[in-house]
Amino acid sequence: MTEAQALPRVVPTPARGSLWARLMAGHALPVAIVMLSILVLWYAGAVFMNAGLQRDAFLNADVAHYSATDFVVGTWSQERPRLPAPHQIAQELGKTVLATPITSKRSLVFHAIVTLEATVVGFLIGSLFGIGLSLLIVHVRSLDRGMMPWIVASQTIPVVALAPMIVVILNQFSITGLLPKALIAAYLSFFPVTVGMVKGLRSPDPLQFDLMRTYSASAAQVLAKLRLPASRPFLFASLKIGVAASLVGTIVAEVTKSEDGGLGARLLAGSYYGQTIQIWAALFAAAFCGAALIGLVGIVERALEPGGRTAT
């Protein structure tokens, strides 16, 4: 046995592997499989949900004999289906997002921007209020007992019931436009931020607090050097929940106050005229906005990560 003979076996084969193994290694294939399953189920569901309508349609048009293919294709191309097929929603999105100028009231981008403005303003108000409230609760002992029940109670009121009243009351004080919607968004988003931050500000272990005490650190120093840095992961987790809640709040407010437009107004109009495809397109736009907002919070979180540059 010589070295030359042994050598080829020592050299590792290039990491080629089978196509299957390479596909499974990444995220792409599992995601694609899930997407595909959803699409298949959806198309099947569309046939099932729209079958009645389609039978009526053929009956009204005096079509007595139709093939199964005609029937299935029919259920996927109705104008006002109970459940629109995915490609119908995609077409509607393509039409209202790409093919329509942003300035037009028919553009979904226009409505998404209206919604996002109120969402972001409301989210900022709610987050700042939530952080302020958590600081008070952690530092003032009596507030902890006194305020927490009210904060929890505030969230038990259905926002659908509350939103119109807030709009009406604020209208009384000539506060209109973006602010009432933003306040409803803030109302929903401050709660997760408050709860998360109270937990985060109290998260350091007793040893870490003892250490501060041995230095005779002031309450402000304990806050700046221990409580706030320790609460960072809690803050961003609750900000992600908060921003999603803001979006929900804004959309609910827009259903109440639809004259300014927005995705909520779009949903209302769609349901008013039975435009299911429009409703679904607006839903998808809302979901996309939510995902984008959460992603944005995640980017800020990563940018503020300690050691993001030095840690490997």
């Binding site: 870490q208 003892d210 250490l211 501060m212 041995t214 230095y215």
Partner: protein, 273 residues
């Protein structure tokens, strides 16, 4: 090594004023199911420059005594002064550095910024902070690790960083609560030697909590043997090894004699209830 001549090394005056004076100190914790006598009528004087070890089984109150000195616990009876002040006043004057059982480094700060933490709080200038962090890293053999994060260091290195942090603002008094308890024997030996050299060089007063007899005998000038339920002082063993002793001293008869007395004290004080 001639241990008999060691007393000549004493630098303190014949009647030194104690740095820490503990007199008839008691602390009763009021727990849900009855009172716990963590400390019962403890009296102890600690002179400047001494290395005092508090040794005893768990529940003997050794950590509690250290925490009372540091004003982290409030006694329920007796008197205690630190530098002639109440523990609270001494704490507010930032009289001591405290090393905990765990390193308690803040994970979001680099090692260097952890060492700088007390300096930031005490308002040292940026230049002064940098100089002291560098010196502190050198003191505990961590030069070049200032920009690492705690999780990138071994347990022993983390604990060394926490010692550098406690020493960064140069307190005369160092309170150490089982700082090497979680480390393996070899690392512990090395850190014991480093600590001893540090104490010899700087002339600081150290109060050191441990439950290891060899560690206590090797490091100390006096060992306070404590016993549990209620926590009290059972025996105080004073001896004079040279300040620049090395680990070899552990093989000498004098060392074993002191260790034997400490062990006996621990056995007597231990109640098997």
């Amino acid at each position: 090594m001639d241990l008999e001549v060691a007393p000549a090394q004493k630098v303190s005056s014949p009647k030194p004023t104690p740095l820490i004076a503990v007199e008839d100190l008691s602390l009763i914790f009021d727990t849900g199911d009855g009172a716990v006598h963590a400390l019962s009528h403890v009296s102890l004087d600690i002179r400047p420059g001494e290395f005092i070890s508090l040794i005893g089984p768990s529940g003997c109150g050794k950590t509690t005594l250290l925490r009372v000195i540091a004003d982290l616990e409030q006694p329920t009876g007796g008197r205690i002064t630190v530098k002639g002040l109440t523990p609270r006043e001494a704490r507010l004057q930032r009289s001591y550095g405290y090393v905990f059982q765990a390193p308690a480094l803040y994970p979001w700060r680099t090692v260097g910024r952890n060492i700088a933490l007390p300096l930031e709080i005490m308002g040292f200038s940026k230049a002064e902070r940098q100089a002291r962090v560098e010196a502190g890293l050198g003191l505990v053999d961590l030069t070049g690790f200032g920009n690492k994060f705690p999780w990138q260091l071994s347990g022993g290195m983390q604990q060394r960083a926490s010692i550098a942090r406690a020493l960064s603002f140069d307190p005369d008094l160092l309170l150490m609560d089982e700082p090497f308890g979680a480390l393996d024997e070899i690392v512990r030996d090395k850190l014991n030697e480093q600590l001893l050299r540090l104490w010899n060089r700087t002339g600081k007063t150290v109060v050191f909590v441990t439950h290891s007899i060899p560690e206590a005998v090797f490091l100390s000038t006096r060992i306070v043997v404590m016993s549990p339920r209620p926590g009290r002082v059972h025996d105080i063993v004073a001896y004079d090894f040279p300040r620049d002793r090395t680990l070899d001293i552990r093989e000498t008869p004098a060392f074993l004699e002191v260790a034997q007395r400490v062990r006996q004290g621990l056995r007597e004080g231990h109640s098997y209830d």
